[in-house]
């Protein structure tokens, strides 16, 4: 049913730290590797070694340059499904293929019901859904439901593949419906941002903006002059400079 649940018991999602992300693409490839054998498998690649490689990815990292009056910085920006509380991608679905789970708030696609009309991809402002031309159905991030509840994995690995892969700890997974969960606290402390909040999708994922850098007063002492010194070092310098 593409009507949304009135409430969800939990609201699982990610807190993504734009301060720590170094744009290494580890989350991207790890996501692809896990999910091409996971719930939404396969993540089809078309022409992978050719002129115009194309394919389905659930997580893509953009790079931006932010320029303000006082500074400019490079920011790496991972973009994936935000598992919104009001996901229009679900409500526009005519077939009931898209749904939001009441138990944990994860937004999923039932591939066996999808007719491939692509309307959900139009309804998502974040570009989270990608169509698989080969299979003819829409695909999207599952928040790794086949990892986070997977009792065959050691408990510390029961997190989405992107979170497990991140070498800088920029991705955090948890329950945003619990105000005391680690992600909720982190998001609160760092001023976590809802992307395009004005559209009213109420995304679950939060982006932690880059911290302010210490800059301005430059108190580092100037380097010592090397030329014209006397003493032993001066003698060595003159000797080597011949």
């Amino acid at each position: 049913m593409t009507s949304l649940p009135k409430t969800t018991e939990r609201q699982l999602g990610l807190a993504i730290d734009l301060d720590s992300c170094v744009g290494c693409q580890a989350c991207v490839t790890s996501c692809k590797e896990w999910n091409t054998g996971g719930h939404m498998a396969p993540l089809t690649d078309l022409d992978p070694y050719g002129e115009n490689p194309d394919g389905v990815w659930f997580n893509r990292v953009h790079t931006y340059e932010q320029v303000t009056e006082t500074k400019s910085r490079t920011i790496h920006f991972p973009r994936s499904c935000l598992h919104c509380a009001e996901p229009a991608c679900v409500t526009v679905c005519p077939t009931g293929a898209s749904y939001k789970r009441q138990s944990d708030g994860i937004v999923l696609v039932d591939e066996d019901k999808c007719i491939g009309c692509k309307l959900c991809s139009w309804a998502c402002p974040y570009g989270a859904r990608e169509f698989d031309d080969d299979v003819g159905v829409m695909k999207k991030c599952t928040l790794c439901i086949d990892r986070i509840y997977n009792e065959n994995l050691p408990e510390e690995n029961r997190v989405p593949a992107c979170v497990a892969a991140c070498p800088t700890g920029a991705r955090h997974f948890g329950d945003f419906s619990d105000p005391d969960s680690a992600v909720s606290v982190l998001s609160r402390e760092r001023g976590g941002v809802e992307l395009m909040a004005e559209l009213g999708y109420r995304p679950t994922n939060r982006y932690l903006p880059p911290r302010a850098r210490a800059c301005g007063d430059n108190n580092i002492a100037p380097l010592e002059a090397v030329a014209g010194e006397g003493g032993l070092l001066g003698w060595i310098d003159r000797l080597l400079s011949r």
Binding site: V67, T95, I115, Y126
Partner: protein, 316 residues
């Protein structure tokens, strides 16, 4: 947005077909439809032909047509599902209306009421088509007060042009109908111009700052996540060349609105078989013009995903 041929044909043809059906309902109640089963058969064949061709074209957009029946199930939340339901339900009263007109040879009694109900259902169907697009917040050019009235107006306008041509061809043209149709074409023209004006001046929201959560300063895309095209760019990053847009807009205005209006006025002056030919040509010309108009409706629309890729808006 990528202008898929299947959807361009679908919305244009069903718009004209359901618009025609809505007007047949109205004309039936007003007693303006000619008696005679043959006349009914010809008219309803054209009406159903337009609708069927459009609906058939819409299935061309689906990858899994064998599952299309599922699209009738989610009418509680989905405008696309509502449209599917309305499009099919309309055939109940419309079928009765056609049976009555063709079988009994006149539009009277219950046939008249079946026609009226069919007409109302047809209007609801066009409304739901418009709502599919108007309800999409990420596409600012569609999420405006102009979209739904536009769909209704262009549907009724093209339906009236077709009906005028049919009634003229059958020799039952009510006095002054071509002039009324010409006026509706002008109304359509002004609505299109107003929509474009609104599109050009509406605030471009959201911003790239809001999309990335980077509140202050200017945010510029310096590197994409991938080196070639992907689904998002092909489907939602479509951009139309400025010079093409100018020409296509001229074609849409000329063929979709002003040309047919001029032909209708000429037909009113000319009368006779020459006038009928002009009216038939006007209706056909309008359908071509509306196909271009609908292509532009998609091609000029921008999606918020273009913010992430740093693609400039095409419509300003």
């Amino acid at each position: 947005m990528h202008p898929a041929k299947s959807i361009v044909f679908f919305t244009t043809l069903t718009g004209a077909g359901y618009g025609l059906l809505a007007l047949l309902g109205l004309f039936g109640v007003l007693g303006l439809l000619p008696a005679g089963g043959l006349w009914g058969a010809i008219t309803m064949a054209i009406c159903f032909g337009l609708i069927f061709a459009g609906l058939l074209s819409s299935t061309g957009h689906l990858s899994h047509r064998e599952r299309a029946w599922r699209a009738f199930t989610q009418w509680r939340s989905s405008w696309l599902s509502r449209e599917a339901v309305a499009a099919v339900l309309t055939f109940v009263p419309a079928g009765l209306f056609a049976l009555g007109w063709v079988g009994l040879g006149e539009v009277a009694g219950w046939t008249r009421w079946a026609g009226a109900v069919a007409g109302l259902c047809a209007l609801v169907t066009i409304f739901t088509t418009g709502m599919i697009y108007a309800s999409l917040k990420p596409v600012m050019e569609w999420h405006t007060p102009f979209t739904v009235p536009g769909y209704l107006l262009y549907g009724l306008m093209s339906g009236l042009s077709v009906l005028t041509a049919i009634l003229s061809g059958l020799g039952h043209l009510p006095d002054g109908l071509p002039l009324v149709a010409a006026l509706i074409c002008l109304l359509g023209f002004f609505w299109k111009r107003a929509s474009w004006y609104y599109m050009a001046h509406q605030a471009r929201l959201p911003s790239v700052n809001s999309a990335t959560g980077l509140g202050e300063g200017t945010v510029r895309s310096v590197q994409w996540p991938h080196s070639s095209q992907n689904f998002l760019l092909k489907e939602m990053g479509f951009r139309i060349a400025r010079k093409h847009r100018r020409r296509l807009r001229l074609i849409a205005q000329g063929c979709g609105f002003l040309g047919p209006a001029l032909l209708m006025v000429l037909a009113e002056l000319l009368e006779g078989p020459g006038g009928s030919l002009l009216l038939i040509f006007a209706a056909a010309l309008q359908l071509v013009g509306l196909l271009v108009e609908r292509w532009l409706f998609f091609a000029e629309a921008t999606h918020t995903i273009s913010l992430y890729y740093g693609l400039g808006a095409s419509s300003s």
